[in-house]
Every structure is written in structure tokens, then in C-alpha cells.
Point group: C2
Chain length 457, copies 2
């Protein structure tokens, strides 16, 4: 924790010194939002828990100050940093919310020196956890009720593995292979055996017997090391041996080849041997599209193990979420702010804002972004206050509760928005007051920025 | 550190219990290698440092044991785990090596219970660090001598940011925005200002003056918030003000728009104002391909800030490196092992192996994979022993030394292999003895696995 204060971009700290030195430290409001979703129409938000821990513990330690001194920061500014705390307010969608592009998922209001610092940590955590929770939600949805085990630790981006696994669980995965995630986060752990286990024995069937002997009550056998059909036949032999001992073989795993065709053949072999209770697990570079295809083609697969693509978000390993200034208070007056640039898509929405959701019989119909002082009738406000004057004021739900909330929210999202590809855009509208404000601010900026150069100021 | 023992897949632990319970714990050799490189022809290896720390500190703590107990592991096996240490040997290519597909980058030899456990950690760390060091090498190469600043923290995969930044530095990046990486790893830090800094002030030029005042000796100004050309003109005003104070404006940054065209226009504006010493920095969703194009089109950019793609490896966020059993010793006799499956590409190479590199006037010509007892004349062995009987026996070079080694190795890689796309495949040959062994093992497995099912065993 103590190191998190420096988990930021250098420019946050140089800007802080510049704000501080110029005496320019107005109350500022920033919005966290996403312009474009990598795949699909919706996001499952995750990562807020990390932000709240960070806010609660944000301090510059002695060795942080010493490092910044070595980097040429002002001594007086560093004295200020020694006493630094976050004193502002944060509104956020709870973890496990369904969100859409453009709408603020988090709104931070604080003296700009404070609000600026938290940007990088917030983006680092929210972008990644939301990316992976969303990916997991897609994978789980594609499996149409079959369970998804997360097997990605070996391909995770290093130390990001733990929060990635947490996010896959929020998104609906049933279990993980990651034992540390089991211990620290309480996520159910699962696993079978590796090819090396099979090949380390003189014969494949010896490896099956050794495993069945060690885990008679939770025996899964990997059958594709040499030949999946032969492997299935040997699994039958061991399954029968387990029956003689009053136990049951839980399952077999396919990890290569034509998973659809092989699963059907293996199912036949198992059923023919009266082992219809034995489940078939499939793995091997799976993703939401491949699972969708397997399920649609009638693959006889009961459970999917998904690794690389789930834990990294491949093919889209980053959510391009941003944190943009929308309002500044100077001498008690709100001055709405926005960025616009050569690329209009990079413009932002000015003013302190709220987000509202309209539903019909529980189903999400549309969202509306309004200004902070507007009330939208018959709609639920999505941003809840989680931090007030630097103190956390919200409940901290358990991981299982967050997961349940995500599942419930997902249930209320109409089917058409869940399509893996070419899902329609969910309607996110702007209130009339927001549209008017935006036009006014663009006018104002154009006028003022021109003035400076023409020397009339 | 104490938690790293459980940073593994559940199946490693269940296999360990099965090995232990069946008394099957032969000395085993595993190879770490990559089948296919996501982009380009070569890899820059990184991550070994983490593996060595892990090996040195690998212990199961009381709370690890307690957790495993709750998951139904055998009490006697857990007693064994309490005393667990890694006692084997590891050979590895040093960090900053250039490696190619199929050739072992790490070779682990240990009792199979030990060698099995370390698989997941090794893959997690090596896959990610090598992926990012390789990506950085490509980005740096594309910039043809212009420096690359890593700006990716906000889009990094959560806690993976620190090792990712380390890897970008090994791959040749000059600096990072990540202050924590500066403090912990000693990497030079760099940064400019954000759009929010600019928009928080009433006028763009006010923000420039505030920054120049706070950092007169390292002032970079972001000029694209409203209009890049207008921004450049205002930067000239502030640059001249700095000159009056005996200081120099270091640079301006473009973050959107047509970077090539804008950089030329901005260069003209700066030069016309006698500010030819002011550098132009460009950023905004850059990668090796875009940088290559900008450089080839004559963009007047002196330095690139690269974020998302560099820190996540986008579009390929995972290196599919694997760890495969190649040899087992039973009753003093080596039994070469391999996997082959429906997909021949998933087959592996049997036997304990070495990797050799042939050079001509320093340039890499080809690599040869041989068996352990072979010597290839006029070639350098690439795998060096780093761990002996569980103890680290190699030097632990500083990060700067690793970075220099990577640069030197890269210099010796012939240009054609550095092409961003459609680089030729670097020749990696197998020794005749290895080819012969492979055929023999395939024969043996086919014979033996058939035998079991036909009941002749």
C-alpha cells in the first residue's frame, strides 16, 4: 500500500507542483468513461474496490519523498506532499454494473491537485478489471449455462493475474486454476492434470491409475496426450476400476484436436460403457467465439477451461478508458470544461454530470446523461456516492455479492445487446441542458483561445 | 514472496500429490520454449530474474498449508510440502538474449514433484516479460534512433505494470512515465502534462506559463488540447519568455491529429521563431507500425511516447510459451519423453537438450538444438547454468547491464530478421542425433500405447 502513491505517471506529480506553485488549486471534477468498447455493446464494471483501498491509504512515505527529491522536485512542494491526503468526493457505479460508452462510471470531485494524482491508479485498475469482467461475461454467455473454469495464470500479464482472476469471477466464471486466488479471494479452485503428468509415466494408463488413486473423489483425466480416442478408452478402464471401489470418475479433458467431433466420439465411448455421468471438459485456446461455435454445433462438452484469451482480454488487452476534466469551481462559480481537438471523437462532455437508467419491466431501455442538478423522472441514478470528504461511506460487498449483482444486472440487459458481434448500440442520450451547455462551452473556448493570439487580451 | 508457492495452478499441486502418493518421483527435465512468435522472427528474453528470486524463496507457509488442507489435500502430503524446497538444476539463456521458436530458453531438471510446481510461475513471468521486451525492441527499432518513452501505466494490466515497464527498458526504451518503476527499478522517468492541466486554466497560455514557472529547466508543453497549430504558437510565446529568463523550452507534445503533417507544421513554426532547439514529442495510440510509417514519411518527431500497445503487447497480449517434459530418469536410465497429438504442431522434442549459436563476423547465422552430450563445433552454447542443487550460481546483472546486453545481441542479429512484417524464419536446426531420437521415441510410444489396449500387456 505504502508504495501506491508513486504508482502514477510522472506528469501527475509535475502538474501537481505546477498547480501548487501557481496557487491554482480549484475544486475540479473528473469523469472516468470509455469511448469505445473493444468487443460487444456493454461493459461489466469492476475494480472499484481497489480504488477505495487506495483512497483510504493514500500517503507519501519518507522514501517516496526522498525519491522525488532526487528527481528535482521543490522542497516546499515535497513538504506539502508529506501531509497529502485525498479529501474529495467520489461517485461511482458499484462493481458489477452494466455500463455503456461515453457515460461516466466514476466521477471524482476534489481540489485539482488531489483529483489529478488519483487519475493514473484509477485508470490502471478500472480499465483492466472492467476489461476482464466484460470479457468473462461474454465467454460465460457464449457457454449457455455450461460452466467456465479460468485456466489463465500461465499466460496472465505477470502480477496482474490476481485482479484478472477476480474480474473473471465477477464476470461469471465458476472457478479458477489459480490457487493464490483461491486462498486470497476465496474463489473456487479447479484443475485436472497436465500432459507432463501423463508422459512422465511409462504408460498413459499408469498415470491415470496414479491420479485416480490419489484423488478417487475428484478424478479428471486428460485424454489427448497421445490419441484422444485411445485416451478415452483407457479412461473407461480406470472409470470402471473406480466404480469397483465405490467411486466415480468425474470427467475427462480434451485439450487439442477437433473438440466438437472428439467430444461426440468420447461421449459415445463413455455412454456405451455406462459412464454417462462422466463429464467432458474442453480446453485449448478457447474464447467466446469458439465456444459459441462449439455449443451451436452440438459439441458434447459440459465445461470449458479458458485461459489466455480470458485472462488477457485477447484480442483487446486494454480498455481505453479515460479520465477527463469536466468542471472547475473558481470563486464559487462552476466553469464547465471540455477538451476538443482535431479528432472530434476525442472531445469530452462538460459539466458535473449524473447518469440515469430507464427500465421497462426490469429490462434496460436507455440511459440518460444529465447535468448534476437535473432529475430524470422514472429513472434510476447509476452513480452512487462512495467517498465523501475523503472517507469511504459505502458498503464494501463481498466478492460473491458483486458477482451476483453482475449476474442480476446482466439478466436485465436485453438479449440483443448480448450478441457477440454486431450488437446494436445501446441508447445513451444527453439531457437537453447538457447539449446546450456543450454548445455554449465550445463557443466560449473558440472565442477565448483565438483572442489570446490576436493580442486582444 | 511467502505467497508465491500458491501462485500456481491447482493441477500442479494435485499432480504433486499423485506423484508423491504413487512413489513416482523420478528426476525429470522440462524445456521452456515458444512455438510461435506473435509478431516478427525473434524474441528478446526477459523475466529470469523473477524466476531466480522465486526459486531461492520457494516455501509453503503455514497459511498456505492450512488453505490446502481446506481443499482436501492429504495430511501426509502436506507434511511433505512443509519441508518442500527446490533442489534441482536450471540452465537458461540470460535475460536480454535473442531467442527463436522451438529452442529451449530454460531447461529445468529436478525431481518431478519440484519441477512440476515451478511450471506455472515460470510461464507466468517468462511469457509476459519476454513478450514485452520483444515488443519494446520492435518499437525501438522502428524509431530508428529516436528515443521511446513508455507511457503505458494507465493501460497496463493492473499489477503487471512494474514488470512490464522493466521489460520495456530491457527492450530498449529510454524512460518511463511510471514513477514507481523509477523508484524501485531505477529507470529514468519522464513526462509532460495532461489535457486536464491545460483545460483547468482559463486560457491555454496560462497553463503553459504556470508549468514553465514550476519547471523552467524541464518544460514540455502539450499543444493539442484545442488546436495544435494555435498551441504551437502559444508555446513559442512561452518559449521566448523562457529565453528572457535565460532558460530554454525543452519540447512540445502532439497527442492527436495527423502527427506527420502536424509535426512538420509545428517544426516550421518553431524554427521560424528561432526555437530550433525545441524538440517535438508525439504520442497517441502509437505502435511499431505507426512509428515506422511516421519515420518513413519524414515526420519531424524527435521522441515518441508509447503507451497501450507497448505495455500490453497489443495486438498480441500473450506469449504462448510452454514448459514440456523431455526426459525422465528411471533406475539410472534416461527415458526421453515427448507429447504428440492430433495436431502435429503441438508435438515436442524429446531428451535433455542444448542450444548452440553459430556466428560469422559476429552476426548470428543459425542455431542448432542438440542433445545434452553433444558438442557443436564453432558455436556458442546459449543455455548457461543458473541454478545448481537449488542454489543460484550465476551473477545477477543490474537492469542496465541486461539492457546493454540486449542491445548488443540485437546488433548481432542480421537486419532481415528485424523486419516488422514478413521477416524470414531464422534457421534453427536439429542435430542428427536429436532427429534420430525423436523418431525412436515416436515409434516406442505408438507401440507401447497400442499394447495396453489390445490387452497384451
Amino acid at each position: 500500500m505504502s508504495e501506491d502513491a508513486l504508482r502514477t505517471d510522472l506528469y501527475q506529480l509535475t502538474m501537481m507542483q505546477a498547480y501548487w506553485k501557481s496557487g491554482h488549486n480549484p475544486e475540479a471534477t473528473f469523469d472516468y468513461f470509455v469511448r469505445k468498447i473493444p468487443s460487444g455493446s456493454y461493459l461489466v464494471t469492476a475494480g472499484l474496490n481497489y480504488l477505495l483501498d487506495y483512497i483510504e491509504n493514500l500517503r507519501f512515505e519518507d522514501d517516496d519523498i526522498k525519491y522525488l527529491e532526487s528527481q528535482g522536485f521543490d522542497n516546499e512542494f515535497l513538504l506539502f506532499l508529506r501531509e497529502f491526503k485525498f479529501t474529495g468526493d467520489i461517485f461511482a457505479m458499484p462493481e458489477g454494473s452494466i455500463a455503456f460508452p461515453i457515460e461516466p462510471m466514476i466521477r471524482v470531485t476534489a481540489p485539482i491537485i488531489e483529483a489529478q494524482l488519483v487519475e493514473t491508479f484509477l485508470l490502471n485498475k478500472m480499465n483492466f478489471s472492467t476489461l476482464i469482467a466484460t470479457k468473462a461475461s461474454r465467454v460465460v454467455h457464449a457457454a449457455k449455462g455450461r460452466s467456465i473454469a479460468e485456466f489463465g495464470l500461465r499466460r496472465a500479464q505477470g502480477d496482474g493475474h490476481l485482479e484478472a482472476t477476480r474480474a473473471t469471477y465477477i464476470g461469471g466464471c465458476a472457478s479458477t486454476s489459480n490457487v493464490m486466488a483461491g486462498k486470497i479471494l476465496g474463489i473456487p479452485v479447479s484443475g485436472t492434470m497436465a500432459h507432463s503428468f501423463v508422459t512422465s509415466f511409462d504408460h498413459e494408463i499408469d498415470s491415470y491409475r496414479a491420479y485416480a488413486n490419489a484423488f478417487p473423489k475428484r478424478c479428471f483425466l486428460l485424454i489427448d496426450t497421445y490419441d484422444s480416442i485411445e485416451g478415452a478408452r483407457k479412461a473407461v478402464i480406470v472409470g470402471k476400476e473406480l466404480e469397483e471401489r465405490g467411486e466415480e470418475l468425474l470427467g475427462v479433458r480434451l485439450d487439442s484436436g477437433d473438440l466438437c467431433e472428439l467430444s461426440k466420439q468420447v461421449r459415445t465411448i463413455l455412454d456405451y460403457a455406462d459412464l454417462s455421468y462422466v463429464k467432458i471438459v474442453a480446453s485449448g485456446d478457447l474464447n467466446e467465439w469458439k465456444i459459441d461455435e462449439l455449443v451451436n454445433k452440438g459439441a458434447r462438452i459440459d465445461m470449458f477451461g479458458v485461459g489466455t484469451e480470458l485472462i488477457t482480454g485477447r484480442p483487446n488487452p486494454a480498455l481505453d478508458g479515460i479520465y477527463k476534466l469536466s468542471d472547475v469551481v473558481e470563486q464559487g462559480k462552476h466553469i464547465p470544461k471540455m477538451k476538443f481537438s482535431e479528432e472530434t471523437v476525442k472531445s469530452t462532455l462538460p459539466g458535473k454530470k449524473r447518469v440515469w437508467r430507464m427500465t421497462e419491466n426490469g429490462a434496460f431501455i436507455k440511459d440518460i446523461i444529465s447535468l448534476d442538478d437535473e432529475i430524470v423522472d422514472n429513472a434510476e441514478p447509476l452513480l452512487k456516492q462512495v467517498v465523501k470528504n475523503g472517507k469511504i461511506i459505502c458498503n464494501r460487498p463481498s466478492l460473491d455479492m458483486i458477482r451476483q449483482r453482475a449476474a442480476l444486472n446482466f439478466l436485465h440487459l436485453p438479449e440483443k445487446y448480448k450478441k457477440l458481434d454486431q450488437a446494436p448500440v445501446y441508447p445513451v442520450e444527453f439531457s437537453r441542458k447538457l447539449v446546450a451547455l456543450r454548445e455554449k462551452v465550445i463557443e466560449r473556448i473558440k472565442r477565448e483561445e483565438d483572442l489570446v493570439l490576436s493580442g486582444k487580451r
